[in-house]
């Protein structure tokens, strides 16, 4: 039984897991959907009530009947590297690849349909609240007046992007930014603005969930630091224990969301409370493992290579 990893060739974080799988002798096939067609060849057959499918890439062959699990890491857009790429070719290739993969009886980290839902920031906040996390007051609005009222109520407010920096503009950054009620909110009418009460933090917390295993890391914040992803500080990530209440909330969250992997971001305030900021269903873990030594890649490889079903996360939700 073979593990399929969907990711780009330059994804060195995926290498960490590939190396683990090699150590345990687990067959693995690594595919970038951008290389299909091209370096990769696909064929799916439906005949006499039977389904069969095969993928080959760089000399490595995988049959759908022998598919142990799928890890969706950093895949390129289907057919992006084709000799003559086009939106149509991408759409056709996506149909062929995922249509075939969805027919296989296998485990996903994470299933694309669950991943799509899990990426929605407003939905994350709702599930976080239902799971028992502390969630900062938040508004996502196109109404300037409501944005103004929110900022006046909470005084220190951050603006953040739900979808990240504008795509197709390399080198653009859009960090979480602290603003006050004197900002000009008229441009909120030109696009949804996500505003959240600012949590003055003494540390950032990154909690990585792999199946039922939890790895928490803490990095002390600089005074006034708003977005822990930007700006170098003297502090590094250190492993910390997961409070029981947080662990229970994490399990509730990933169970509800149907996720086998998730990277949670928290802001630890002056009282030690971990405030939920977001849950990244495909969040990076390499930087955490390199600094703390936590065996996250080993945990990912273990989850991918074991055939017993994770009863908490079904392979296919519907």
């Amino acid at each position: 039984m073979t593990v399929l990893i969907l990711t780009s060739e330059e994804d060195v974080t995926a290498d960490m897991v590939v190396a683990r799988l090699h150590e345990t002798g687990t067959p693995v096939v690594r595919l970038d959907p951008a290389d299909l067609p091209g370096k990769a060849v696909l064929s799916a057959e439906y005949a006499h009530g039977d389904f069969g499918g095969h993928l080959s890439v760089n000399g490595h062959v995988l049959s759908m009947g022998g598919l142990r699990s799928v890890w969706v890491r950093r895949p390129g857009e289907p057919a992006a590297n084709a000799a003559h790429p086009s939106p149509w070719l991408t759409a056709e290739t996506r149909q062929a690849l995922f249509g075939m993969l969805y027919c296989a009886s296998t485990r996903w980290m994470n299933h694309p349909r669950n991943a799509d839902q899990a990426r929605l920031k407003p939905w994350q906040l709702r599930v976080a609240h239902l799971s028992g996390f502390a969630v900062p007051p938040t508004v996502f609005t196109t109404a300037p007046r409501l944005a103004q009222q929110f900022a006046e109520e909470h005084k220190d407010v951050v603006v953040k992007s739900a979808s990240g920096p504008p795509p197709g503009e390399p080198g653009m950054a859009l960090p979480t930014t602290l603003i006050g009620p004197d900002a000009d909110f008229s441009a909120v009418a030109a696009g949804p603005a996500l505003l959240q009460r600012y949590i003055p933090k003494r540390a950032d917390i990154r909690l990585t969930c792999v199946g039922t295993r939890l790895f928490a890391a803490r990095k002390q914040a600089e005074p006034g630091q708003v977005d822990g992803r930007y700006g170098e500080t003297e502090h590094s990530w250190e492993a910390v224990a997961v409070p029981g209440r947080i662990g229970r909330a994490v399990h509730e969250y990933v169970s509800f969301a149907g996720l086998a992997y998730a990277a949670f971001d928290f802001a630890e305030d002056g009282d030690g409370t971990w405030w939920f900021l977001e849950c990244n269903q495909g969040g990076q873990f390499g930087f955490i493992e390199l600094e703390t030594g936590q065996p996250i890649s080993a945990a990912v490889a273990h989850w991918l290579s074991h055939s017993e079903a994770d009863r908490r996360v079904r392979a296919s939700q519907w």
């Binding site: 060195v12 760089n58 390399p170 008229s186 992803r229």
Partner: protein, 63 residues
């Protein structure tokens, strides 16, 4: 009118990283010029910054 949130975007000035490793198709991972896996050199990975929380966010927002 430019959407409110985009007023806080800026050019980070980061240039494309030249990574000191290349993909080995038969081994299905990246290797250094001497053929050893890139992941065997922790210091190199830390310096390359390709495992950071924002690595790959140009094409993926799942940081």
């Amino acid at each position: 009118m430019r959407p409110f949130t985009l007023n806080y975007a800026y050019r980070s000035g980061l240039t494309t990283m030249v990574t000191p490793y290349s993909f080995d198709a038969s081994r299905q991972l990246n290797v250094l010029p001497d053929g050893s896996p890139a992941v065997s050199d922790r210091d190199l990975l830390m310096a390359a910054g390709t495992t950071t929380s924002t690595a790959g966010s140009a094409t993926h927002f799942d940081d």
